[in-house]
Symmetry: C2
Subunit: 361 residues, 2 copies
């Protein structure tokens, strides 16, 4: 098999983990699930390291996040941090990354993975990954579809088509986020999978697909390549990137191209969408609490406390008679919210925005 | 009227306001009710200042609290901080304070007030105080009795006897903390008042009463006085104080002496017994919350948040969908507890003690 490179999508600036996540410290740079000292993006790299070493990892991120991202990933070459001057959704950044990789490795197979997901069964995940990479080697634009465990209305779905190989199917169609009724039918029917935003392809196949389905993007990428050949990539990026179409790779390429494959998988995947999920993914005591070390908990059940403030190590938390709470403290903010309302942290973001307190966003 | 001196009892080391209150920073040194920047003891002095200026105020406290107490009361002469080497309840400290005052002002009238209570109606309180001081001038050992507003079982009561002057009654008897049934009968009967631990007397009258009813204390105080006359008070205190009987002034003197008077009063008195009371006494927003300035509160009701940590000024609290909580943060601890369970902070103290975490007590 040709070399496999991995492009990690790490441009997100999620607000659902405020006050831990900030514009300059988004979700993927925080240890929100799994090991308490491992940012989600570091876990993403560790998981794939048996298949892709750090020197073939590329990070797609935004200019403002480059330093913090590099600090979290000391083993990735600094030149592999691909900083978009402006965010243009996933098609331009994946196209640019694929072109960049192909400069030195034209036969490369590329795996595109989100930086900020949790995976419980890592060997199982790598098995599915290997299957997807083999399909990509065979020329398929390949994705992984997660076998749904609930009628989730927050994700897109992939309808499975004919079998085209060992554990690999053609994609019948991509389906937008469904209604509750449709989602229930999808789960019951067994022919729909969650679209988890993972993609696998030969660099040359993606280049050709972009040329066919997104000619404006192809033209822009060609300008960047020419400038790069002259050693003038930075200026071309700043000029060209803002003009590229802001479209997802799903809409721009996957839904239109031929030979789209999906590998179904079940490996304890979770997109770590809220503090509620952090609680679910955390180690918990017998009363269901995930608390800082040494906390005194009396008649306290199913709480999550994350103390990310500088003084956390010397601080003693004491919870008496409270249940199902999320409490998150940082240097400059404290959030107190019931677990079941964790999504409503957006209302706090809105209030901060309305007040102009942008330094806390 | 002869000079009025005030002895403020400030030896308490309450644990009910953990984590704000500590062994070295007890309740009376904290702003737990009323003005957010005024420790309870400072409010006590401010309230009586129209009647007793700071240069005639004396503070009875423990050796370990002298520095912090002096810092809270810069206008009280340092020599007026009477530091007990060991705590021996109120009879020895009141006897010692009265003797000390009498050295330079033998005709003094002495008012003894707890340092750590809240009073809502300050002019009304001063009216009652003046009445009590006049009774003291007439030779009565006088106390103030609070007209009860509920069948409280946590206080001692005073049964009112015959009227002996304008708003002044003889005390029929002192009653220990009653059962619930008795307390209800007291409130319904209208002849019982709460014992709030305030006492008023001529220094000479108290001296004579101690001589008659607590001869061992009188002997010990005489030894201290003799040493003080030789300029050797400190050593005498260290030797004598631990040998004095550890008895309250109520048990040791008031319940035995003749000519005991009580002045009934209603002036918004509160002994600030728990965080629940702090919430009741605090300024609250339309949703019943008492929160740090700038807090974002969404669907949040009747909460108390006190941030006493060094970073409080730059910290933004956000409460979403939580009600009736008390949250208190300090430099090294955070307490989260429902308001109605505020008394259960004792369980946290017990846990810290069991763990040997005495640095947090």
């Amino acid at each position: 098999m040709p070399n496999v490179h991995c492009v990690v999508l790490a441009g997100g600036s999620g607000t659902r983990f405020w006050p831990a996540s900030r514009r300059l410290m988004p979700k993927q740079l925080l240890p929100l699930a799994g090991r308490a000292d491992e940012p989600l993006i570091a876990a993403t790299l560790r998981r794939i390291e048996p298949l892709v070493p750090p020197e073939r990892v590329w990070i797609s991120t935004g200019t403002r996040l480059v330093d913090a991202t590099a600090a979290a990933l000391p083993r990735v070459p600094r030149a592999h941090l691909l900083a978009e001057p402006v965010a243009r959704n996933t098609a331009p950044c994946i196209g640019w990354a694929a072109a960049t990789i192909a400069r030195t490795d034209p036969d490369a197979i590329v795996a595109v993975l989100p930086a900020d997901h949790f995976i419980g069964d890592e060997p199982g995940f790598r098995d599915v990954l290997e299957r997807a990479l083999r399909a990509a080697e065979d020329g398929w634009l390949t994705t992984i579809g997660i076998v749904p465990t609930r009628p989730e209305t927050g994700y897109g779905y992939i309808e499975v088509g004919d079998r085209v190989g060992e554990g690999v199917h053609a994609v019948a169609r991509f389906v937008e986020k469904p209604s509750r009724e449709k989602a229930e039918a999808f789960v019951a029917g067994g022919r729909h999978l969650w679209n988890a935003g993972m993609f696998f392809f030969r660099a040359s196949v993606m280049r050709d697909a972009i040329a066919e389905h997104m000619p404006a993007l192809a033209t822009g990428l060609a300008r960047i390549e020419e400038a790069a050949a002259r050693g003038d990539e930075a200026r071309a990026l700043a000029e060209v990137f803002p003009t590229l179409p802001s479209i997802s790779i799903d809409h721009g390429v996957m839904e239109k191209a031929e030979r789209i494959a999906v590998v179904p998988g079940s490996f304890g995947w979770n997109d770590v969408g809220s503090w509620q999920v952090t609680w679910e993914m955390s180690e918990r005591d017998a009363q269901g609490n995930a608390l800082p070390e040494g906390t005194i908990a009396i008649d306290a059940k199913n709480n999550l406390v994350r103390d990310l403030s500088p003084g956390a190590a010397r601080k003693r938390w004491a919870l008496v008679g409270v249940s199902d709470l999320v409490i998150v403290e940082t240097d400059d903010a404290v959030l107190v919210i019931p677990r079941e309302r964790a999504q409503d942290v957006r209302a706090v973001i809105d209030a901060l925005t309305a007040r102009g307190e942008t330094d806390r966003l």
